[in-house]
Symmetry: C2
Subunit: 224 residues, 2 copies
């Protein structure tokens, strides 16, 4: 229903589809847990730095933990290739024009990576600050990556995502001197929609803040 005038905008079949999705998400998390895997859904706008964060994480953690990656892209498999070059198993989901990953796509991809050998699975969602937040994939931790070049009003403009995520990674902090971006404002806006959200500020380029991220991953693995 349109909030402005009452005209009908809602599409009811979507509700039924989401029900099925939620059931599949419960199956997925069960499989991850049976395999003692810490699973993360990495979301964010195109270019927010999701793949770069995964590459850096593999560099820092790859000799201590066994990492697997599921990549979501519309058509190309560029990201999975980047990850494989780091020596980590990666499976590419090609969504066509679909703007998000869903639990069924992830279940399919899970059968293409060696789950029983892994400690962590990262699922890099399609670059999109809206739709992925409506689809539970069945993971331990939903992460939204927001780069400092995207503007400090984003948690107010895209609240669904910031409500959905347990962790907010503020990326590309090396660019702070060149853009208008107030980190305290972002944190305040994010906490307004999600008081419990954990926030960390990173620069992969300048290797700032990576300790906190690595600690979170280690904690997640030990906790499973």
């Amino acid at each position: 229903m349109c909030d402005n005038c009452g005209c009908t905008l809602t599409i009811s079949p979507a509700i039924k589809i989401l029900d099925q999705q939620d059931k599949q998400a419960l199956v997925n998390i069960q499989i991850f847990r049976e395999n003692r895997i810490f699973s993360l859904n990495i979301m964010g706008s195109p270019g927010s730095g999701k793949t770069s964060l995964l590459e850096k994480t593999i560099e820092l953690l790859g000799d201590r933990l066994k990492i697997g990656v599921i990549e979501g892209d519309l058509e190309e498999s560029l990201d999975a290739e980047r990850i494989r070059q780091k020596g980590v198993p990666a499976y590419q989901i090609t969504t066509g024009s679909a703007c998000h990953l869903d639990a069924f796509m992830v279940r399919h991809a899970m059968s293409h990576i060696p789950l029983s050998d892994l400690d962590i699975v990262f699922i890099e969602n399609v670059g999109n600050l809206v739709c992925p937040a409506v689809y539970s994939l069945g993971v331990d931790c939903n992460v939204v990556v927001l780069s400092v070049t995207e503007g400090d009003d984003k948690p107010a403009k895209y609240p669904v995502m910031f409500r959905f995520a347990q962790v907010l990674v503020i990326s590309k902090s090396d660019l702070l001197p060149y853009v208008d971006f107030d980190i305290s404002k972002v944190i305040s806006l994010a906490r307004k929609v999600n008081p419990a959200i954990k926030v960390m500020e990173l620069s992969i380029k300048n290797n700032i803040g990576m300790d906190g991220w690595i600690n979170l991953l280690n904690y997640g693995v030990k906790g499973t």
Copy 2:
């Protein structure tokens, strides 16, 4: 159908909905043309600089052309407020969790701005490099704004959008010294999926490349 293994992922009701959308889009363009309005759909990732581009355009053109703006946001009306502060009529569409504007939403918004008094209407879509490209709004010109901080691989990763747009605005070129972004690569990738796409490079901050953008708008208005 999943390209990987043949499992079914397609949701058929969407096809019917898109048919209705296309019919409404034809109605919208007809109304814009009857009112001799040049209409543009401004798309791009969150934080690509869409609202800033509109603000700068109003500063440069507002005393010569009568501008109206339709804004799409999930919950807040921040962008419409920014535009109204420039003295231009702006109507906010609040989409809730919907990731794009559609032709019905735009038709509704059109009744809230003084069409008969306007020369140009800008429709700023929800920040999203995927979904808006599937929904025709019924405009003369679809524009995608890509900031140099988003990475130069985006036309390969999000080809649907770059195929849909007639104009690619490469924004925030003042940040080029601080990021890895090869403009010739972006243009080449964009033209691979859309050989006719018009490309312009802008910096609103440093006032670079605005002449080409203003010329395009003036040409659009004179041509209607």
